[in-house]
Structures are given as C-alpha cells and as structure tokens.
Symmetry: C2
Subunit: 252 residues, 2 copies
Amino acid sequence: VEFIDLPNQDNLEQIKSKVSNLKSDLACFIFEPLVQGAGGMLMYNADLLSELIYHCKKENVLTIADEVMTGFGRTGKLFASDYLTNKADLMCFSKGLTGGTMPLGITTCTQSIYDAFLHDDKLKTLFHGHSFTANPVACAASNASFDLLIQDKTTVNIQRIMAKHQLFALEIKDNPKLKDVRQQGTIIALEWDTEATSYFNNIRDTLYNFFLSKNILLRPLGNILYIMPPYCISNDDLDYIYNNIKIALSKF
Amino acid sequence: VEFIDLPNQDNLEQIKSKVSNLKSDLACFIFEPLVQGAGGMLMYNADLLSELIYHCKKENVLTIADEVMTGFGRTGKLFASDYLTNKADLMCFSKGLTGGTMPLGITTCTQSIYDAFLHDDKLKTLFHGHSFTANPVACAASNASFDLLIQDKTTVNIQRIMAKHQLFALEIKDNPKLKDVRQQGTIIALEWDTEATSYFNNIRDTLYNFFLSKNILLRPLGNILYIMPPYCISNDDLDYIYNNIKIALSKF
C-alpha cells in the first residue's frame, strides 16, 4: 500500500506523478472523499479530488470512494461524491445507511465493473458472500432510514446543523487553545494546540471524561475534538454541547 | 496460504511434517472443526484434529477454530471444539450466535493472546474496530438466542434431529444415486454420484429448483445436498424433507 498526503494546491502535481509512476502496480486508488475521519477529521477540497480521480481514470487506475462515514447527508449533500465532478468506480457505504441502528454495508460499482462478473461461466462469479449478506432486518432498517433521510425536514435539519456549526466555528476560531477549526456539512472539528497532533494524545482522555461528566458523548481522535450529531439533534442540545466546549477550552 | 488435505489416518503424519517444515513461515493453522461447510460438508475425525492441534502447539504455531458454521449446537455438542481434547488458541463465531437473526461475529482468544495486547502503551492496542462493533441490538438478539439454546428442550430437539438424521442415513446409504451419505450432529449431507464432485456441478440448480417447488429451501453445494435445519423443526417437516429427497433420488 502506498499512501499519499492530503491533497492541496502545492502537492497535487507531485501526487499525480506518483500515481503515473506506480500505475502498473496499482490495483486502485481508495479515499475518503472530502473528510478523512479516523485520520483526524482532515478536510480537503473537492476540486482537487475530482482532478485526482480524473487523473486515475486517464491512467486506468480504478477509484474507490469510501463513503462509510461521509455518506447519507453527513457532509451536507446526500453523498460527499455529489461535490465531485468526476465520480469513483466503486463506492462503499455503511453507518448512515441504516441510521447507525443495524450492521449493514453496501459496495456499489459502475456497470462496466458489474459486467466483468456477468457471465455464463460460473468461474467468473465474484465469490464474495458472507453469513449475513443482505440481512433482511438490516435491509428493512436501511429502507426506513432512507425514507426519513430524503424527507424535506431532514434536509432542513442538516442545513440547520451546518449553519449553527458555521456560527460556532466563527465564534471560537481565534481561541488561542486551538490550532485549527474546520467544518464540512454536519461535522465540525477542533484541533487542540498541543505538543503534537496525534491519535495518542493524552488530552483525548481528559476531554472524553469531561464531556461524559456533562452527559455528552464525544470521542476525540487524540487532540482532535469533533461533533458529528444525529440530524434530529435540537438547537438546545447543540448549544449545550457548544457551551461545554467553551468551558473545556477555558479549562484544558 | 498453504492448504492441507482433509486429515485421515493415512495422511496425518504427512500433514504434521508439512507443518513442521513450514513452521517458521506459518502465522497460524486455521480450520473448521469436524465439518468443512462450503467446501462440501466434508467431515473428519475429532481425534485426528486434536492430534494436529497438539502438533501445532508443540511447533509454536497458533491455531484458529472457525466455529462460524459448526458452533452453537450444530454438530451435536455446544461447540464442535467440545469434541476435541486439544483446543484452539483463537475461535471465531457467528451465524448461530444470534440464531441467524442479526449480523454479529465474535472472536475469542486465550489469556496469553489477550495479554499480548494488554499494555499501558497505546501502540500495543489491537487496532481493530469497525462501524458496528458490538451493535447493541445484535448483542441483545445473541443473548436471547443463547438463552433459548441452553434450555433443556433445545438439547432434546438437537438429539431428536440427530437421531432422525441417523435413521434417514441408514435408509438411503445404499442408494445407487449416492456416492456418500455423512452426518455430524444436526447436519446430514448426501453426495450425488455425478461425473465429478464440484461446487459448480449443474445438478445443483436441478435440485435447488426441485426442492423450492416443494416449498423446501435447500442450497446444494454442487452435487452435495445437505440439510442443516433450525433446531425447532418438527418431525413432520423433517419427514416431508426426507420424503422429497427420496423423490429427488428417484428422479435425478
């Protein structure tokens, strides 16, 4: 596995060269579109990703969008890929697929990939099945969750959370305890200015326990504190979280 | 990955030599205990497996029992590993864990493996979590299913199915259409005597559609027809399946 840096205007050409140099060894380019989740809620520009996908297509490298965390409204649009002008060949979904209630994942692909496995010869089968493939209860939960997701009032809720996050970001962005405040859709992330940004930063436990004592479940990624609320969260609950973050900023 | 043949009295020493020769390259020995499921419901002797596990332990090769299909009463005892005098270091469970109702899997390990990840240094963590780890609804289903499984009446049901399978095996074992009839616990498998035993044998579709037309869902593995019923199946339903198998034997 080769890793690339988070794309930006300065390193994009370098990343494209790397893809071109490695293409004969590359099965695919896999990415979390717009927001890298467990990596630290790292956010990057949709146009740069579109350009990278275009480059991969030109070099015949398959592209896979991991929409597990970003899908189903999380980034503001129905899918993060909806911000892109070039789309991935394969896409992975889970989490929001069932509204987080039931274990389920889906992988989608383009027609040409599907057709590669469509054949009278059984040896052309995609031999991937597992014990709970298409579990009917999970599929029913997914359908029910999707019905809720595409309601107008859910769209309004997502817009409401985005707007409130934006206001909160403005309010705290110059706080000296913070190195960065970033937001994409319903996700807002605060990077605590600590010695080193790391998944293992000990401030994680301090913050986690502080918020838990306030009956708020936040799970910082090291020194990255983030809010990723359910779309039904009330303004009062959001304000309660924001206020406690301000208290945490004054304490830690 | 190195594969070994199904163990028998004749090849056991050869398999043990293979393990000894490869041991420096072996991470582990993984097996389905007593019954290889999708491989064709291949059944083998518990004592031979115990001897192989003992040999692996002696050679410092970890052993993993895949009890996904064999666990939770399927082979007659609570776990197939309960037939073994030597136990695996790790065990995998799913399917019967929730009675097949909800997606869930569990991996267990010995204390010494657990302790290898127990450390103040976070870098010693077993970094394996996923979106739906320990889904609470699936865990509740698993607890409820286990409560049912350990009831006396379930034990009686399992014994009843085993005894009926044994009688049916005796009844059909000399049928000229069959190359083999084998049974372990609540699983009975009939190997149709076709040109070649294969997952791709076309008799699969013939048998599948015949039984479906009789409102019986059986999913042959090529020319291997098997019954793996829920423990609550009635004697009448079992007899109905047996009778239709006899019809199939006269037709195909």
